[in-house]
């Protein structure tokens, strides 16, 4: 199947359209089946993917607006492959675990459209098509938060939409300028990313363009100080919305940095290492402290998300294979772990209709299985060795240590802060006596919930112990990207830095 990527993109969309005619009592089964098929297709993509090659694979190129250089251009490499798989996996598990009862038909159809845009973002190599999916993903999320969310849902939904929309429009200006620069030099219009990769630009131009793309991506990540929309969005979103938002939508921003900012603007990226690292460390430490001060379990996890995104950002700007591969691995890890955490919070919310820590205590006695899974996910979240969270964090720290030992030590110290708030959350909620009468009658997780959580637990342990099958293809693509960056850099200092990083990488291999 050479056109499997198109199938992956449009299968959920067509299924979503057909979903309108399905009876609302069968729609849940329909949603699960479609998402399962989509997930199976993405696994098939992995199976047929050549992990030893750094080239773009499964390329499809169909011109749409040849006069203006826009074409339907999709392909996948080691960087995007696993993000696609994670997107389809989290959608599947999200639909299985979904506890929404009202208007479930609209919810399932919306999720399927959202899945199309998520896959589309990760596999598009034409920048306009990328932008198209990027913007389109806002609409289903707006609806999910706005229709099924908490009391402030409309405010949260609009804030989410406008924030991201504004950032991406600035990015659009950057995209158009870059396209014009390409046209100016080459003489034809093209929005194909692989064409743009060949473009050498002056440092000044690079810095301006970096800034334009930065605004678009940083709001999505969200980076400090653009993170203020996220706690609202998470606080008001229904469980399924938070799961998808944390697991996949935030990754679009960091993926954008790795896919666009680094290889397109190598000199600007190297210049921006320190500023970005400082912001990332502020993100890690500041939001960890804010998380510690929260009383709502979901808010703790929301802020911890921002904190973890800081680690991902730090790794992305390490300019070496370990750092960037670790950052991509951490995207996957965070997707799975935070997705699972939000599901877990959703389960307790369904039972008690509150998410305040003070309402709970001693849950380990009443819900032992729930407590165990929560514990495993929590450990993965703080980066305990042999869990998925450790691998990414460790690689990021090693990678960044080569850039700046001091900043790395600061970042490493913050992992301890992370452990503090997470463990205190665990203590307050699960240990001690059952103080609240209402909690005594709570039921442990049922079969459906177990079924949606156990696969994630298995992945957390499997990839924590043996991450190679995923790390290898990522490594291959990342080192070829670094090679490209070295070749493209115009400043000798940049070339030197990347070259030294690359030679160290080679020695270690």
């Amino acid at each position: 199947m050479d056109n499997i990527l198109s199938v992956l993109i449009f299968f959920p969309a067509i299924a979503g359209l057909l979903g309108f005619v399905i009876d609302k009592n069968s729609i849940r089964a329909y949603g699960i089946s479609v998402a399962a098929v989509e997930f199976a297709l993405s696994l098939f993509l992995w199976a047929t993917f050549d992990g030893t090659s750094a080239a773009m694979q499964f390329v499809e190129l169909i011109p749409i607006v040849p006069d203006f250089g826009i074409s339907y251009y999709v392909a996948v490499d080691g960087i995007s492959l696993f993000l696609v798989i994670m997107a389809t996996l989290m959608t599947l598990i999200g639909i299985i675990s979904m506890s929404v009862k009202n208007e479930i038909k609209n919810m399932v159809i919306t999720l399927l459209f959202l899945e199309m845009t998520m896959v589309g973002v990760f596999v598009s190599l034409d920048v306009i098509v990328f932008y198209l999916f990027w913007e389109l993903s806002l609409v289903p999320m707006l609806y999910i938060i706005g229709a099924w969310g908490g009391p402030l849902r409309v405010y949260a939904a609009i804030k989410f939409f406008l924030y991201t929309f504004t950032g991406s429009l600035i990015m659009l200006v950057g995209i158009l300028f870059l396209a014009f620069t390409y046209y100016d030099i080459v003489g034809v219009w093209s929005f194909a990313l692989t064409d743009w990769y060949q473009l050498k630009m002056g440092v000044n131009v690079q810095l301006w363009l970096f800034a334009a793309f930065f605004i678009g991506f940083a709001i999505k990540v969200p980076m400090f100080p653009f993170h203020t929309w996220l706690p609202y969005a998470h606080g008001q979103a229904p469980t399924i919305g938070s799961v998808i938002l944390a697991a996949v939508l935030l990754k679009m921003g960091t993926y954008g940095f790795v896919r666009f900012s680094l290889p397109l603007f190598p000199d600007a990226s190297v210049i921006m290492i320190v500023p970005i690292a400082v912001i990332a460390i502020i993100m890690i430490i500041y939001t960890a402290m804010v998380a510690y001060a929260q009383e709502d379990i979901k808010q703790v996890i929301a802020y911890s998300s921002v904190s973890h995104m800081g680690i991902i950002m730090l790794g992305a700007f390490a300019m070496n294979t370990q750092g960037i591969s670790g950052s991509i691995f951490q995207m996957l890890a965070h997707g799975i772990v935070s997705g699972a955490m939000f599901m877990l919070v959703g389960m307790i919310y369904d039972r008690r209709h509150t998410k305040l820590m003070s309402e709970f205590g001693g849950l380990a006695l009443v819900m032992p299985r729930y407590a165990m899974i929560f514990g495993i996910m929590l450990m993965a979240s703080v980066g305990l060795p042999l869990t998925i969270g450790f691998v990414g964090e460790f690689l990021v720290l090693i990678g960044f240590y080569k850039v700046s030992p001091i900043l790395t030590i600061l970042a490493g110290a913050s992992i301890i802060v992370g452990a503090v708030y997470m463990l205190s959350l665990f203590k307050k909620t699960f240990f001690g006596e059952v103080t609240n009468e209402e909690n005594k009658k709570l039921l442990d997780i049922d079969a459906r919930e177990t079924f949606s959580l156990v696969p994630l637990v298995l992945i957390v342990v499997w990839l924590g112990v043996y991450p190679t099958p995923i790390l290898k293809p990522i490594d291959v693509s990342v080192s070829s990207m670094l090679e490209l960056m070295e070749a493209k850099a115009v400043k000798p200092k940049t070339k030197e830095l990347i070259a030294s990083m690359r030679s160290e990488d080679k020695e270690e291999n």
Partner: protein
């Protein structure tokens, strides 16, 4: 004594006049039919109109590009052809909207349709000429017909709208006359191509450049009234509110695009000759128009008024393309309006569907936001369609207006106006808020309990028009290439 004037039919080149003649004769035909048999149903006239417009459309397609005729008053260049096609397509989409399930009396008068055709003829004259007098005559013919069409919607605020529009139009006409007079005084010509030569020669003569610029500014003010640029936009919300919804949608497109063509012919000349003050004034007006109209739209309580301000903001967008003075900028004007036309007309048609004949939703407004609360539960398809139009207007890809926006912003970036592109981007973000507000009402709020106040004026013809608008809005990505290459080809073949 004048010598004998001999003119051959060859020189007259009457075929260039055929499109306007078809419209005028069609209008007369409708009046004659009314004389012979006076109780014909409106559906008869609507279908007659579509047929006449179809013939007109065919005649425009058969015009020879860059032809002159009728004592050189008529200039058939690429722009003229593209604009006429656009005007005719918009009109063909507009006319069936008369066939609502409820009877609105103005559509029962054959005079309505006759006037409508005279208006189209006026616009056609306006865009196919580079003679200031003929442009003026075309503009006034079209405007007078349009005032009457608005007033025929028999409500007190329609009269208000018509009178307001008429007054503003009269002021604009005055400015046009004064501007033309200044230009004639300095150049001795009313033909734009001759004016261009003279201005080019005499621009650096002391004292003269001020007069030339003053003439340009006066003309610009006159167009600013018609295109609704800040600060001459104040009539728009009231007039749109008073006019029936489809006519308001029509007014947000056809008169504006016709005026844009004239502005393009005149200010294109100014900008080509390097008269920077005019370019600066246009840019400032455009930026102020899009920003202030967007901010005003945020606080509107009525959807129709919101759409009025939104169409002002879109006009500001397009106006800034005019200041670029590049082929790409000129192309983007037409690309934008073509794509915008379907979406905007569709949005106004959705308001038309929800219009009650007598009872208003509230004392003040016909279409307040509350009226659309929970529309997804009342008519799901209607809500989805309206949401599509709103997303398209907000510039969310892949819907039609996004491609127009993309192209205009790209044109601005190409010319080095990056700040302009950034302002356009920020304005789109502001605009997204008020479009989203309607979506929020439709999808996320509970329906109003008193359902009698929401009234559905739907009929098969309206559904067909909405369907066409939806299809174009959603599938625009597939024909953007064809549109782009056709319009670029046509603009390249223009005299500018």
């Amino acid at each position: 004594m004048l010598g004998q004037i001999s003119i051959t039919m060859q020189e007259l080149n009457l075929p260039t006049l055929i499109p306007m003649l078809i419209a005028v004769c069609g209008g007369l035909l409708i009046l004659i039919i009314d004389l012979i048999k006076n109780d014909l149903h409106k559906s008869f006239y609507v279908m007659m109109m579509i047929l006449i417009l179809f013939v007109d459309f065919g005649s425009v397609l058969s015009l020879v590009v860059n032809d002159r005729g009728f004592f050189d008053l008529i200039l058939v260049d690429g722009i003229a052809i593209v604009t006429q096609l656009l005007i005719l397509v918009t009109s063909m989409l507009f006319i069936p909207l008369a066939l609502t399930s409820k009877r609105f009396h103005e559509f029962s008068y054959p005079e309505f349709f006759a006037l409508f055709l005279f208006m189209i003829a006026g616009f056609q004259f306006m865009v196919t000429s580079d003679n200031l007098i003929l442009i003026f005559v075309g503009l006034e013919t079209a405007s007078l017909s349009l005032y009457t069409l608005i007033a025929m919607h028999n409500r007190s605020n329609s009269y208000e709208a018509a009178v307001k529009y008429f007054t503003m139009g009269a002021v604009a006409a005055g400015f046009f006359a004064m501007g033309s007079a200044l230009i004639y005084a300095t150049t001795g010509s009313i033909e734009l191509y001759a004016i261009k030569d003279v201005i080019g020669d005499r621009l650096n003569e002391p004292g003269l450049s001020a007069v030339i610029i003053a003439g340009g500014v006066l003309l610009l003010i006159s167009f600013a009234f018609k295109i609704s640029l800040f600060p001459f936009h104040t009539w728009v919300p009231d007039v749109y509110e008073g006019a029936p919804a489809p006519l308001a949608g029509y007014m947000s497109i056809v008169p504006k695009i016709a005026t844009f063509v004239v502005a393009l012919r005149i200010f294109g000349t100014y900008i080509d000759l390097g008269i920077e003050p005019i370019r600066v004034i246009i840019l400032v007006l455009a930026v102020l128009t899009m920003t202030l109209a967007n901010i005003m739209a945020l606080v509107q309580e009525d959807v129709k008024r919101m759409l009025a301000y939104s169409s002002i903001a879109h006009a500001g967008f397009v106006m800034s393309a005019l200041a670029l003075g590049t082929t790409k900028g000129d192309v983007s004007i037409f690309v934008y309006y073509t794509l915008f036309m379907f979406t905007n007309l569709g949005a106004f048609t959705m308001l038309w569907i929800s219009r009650h004949k007598k009872r208003r939703y509230s004392l003040r407004f016909d279409h307040p936001y509350e009226k659309f609360a929970g529309l997804i539960k009342v008519i799901p398809m209607g809500a989805v369609v309206m949401a599509l139009f709103m997303l398209s207007l907000a510039g969310v890809p892949p819907f039609s207006v996004f491609w127009g926006k993309l192209y205009i912003m790209s044109a601005a970036v190409d010319k080095g106006y990056i700040w302009l592109a950034v302002i356009m981007g920020l304005n789109s973000a502001i605009a997204a808020y008020y479009y989203l507000k309607l979506i929020v009402y439709m999808f996320l709020k509970e329906p109003n309990k008193d359902m009698n106040t929401v009234y559905y004026n739907i009929s098969k013809p309206l559904m067909v028009i909405i369907g066409i608008a939806v299809i174009v809005t959603v599938t625009s990505v597939f024909f953007f290439q064809q549109l782009l290459s056709y319009i670029t080809y046509m603009i390249d073949y223009s005299v500018l």
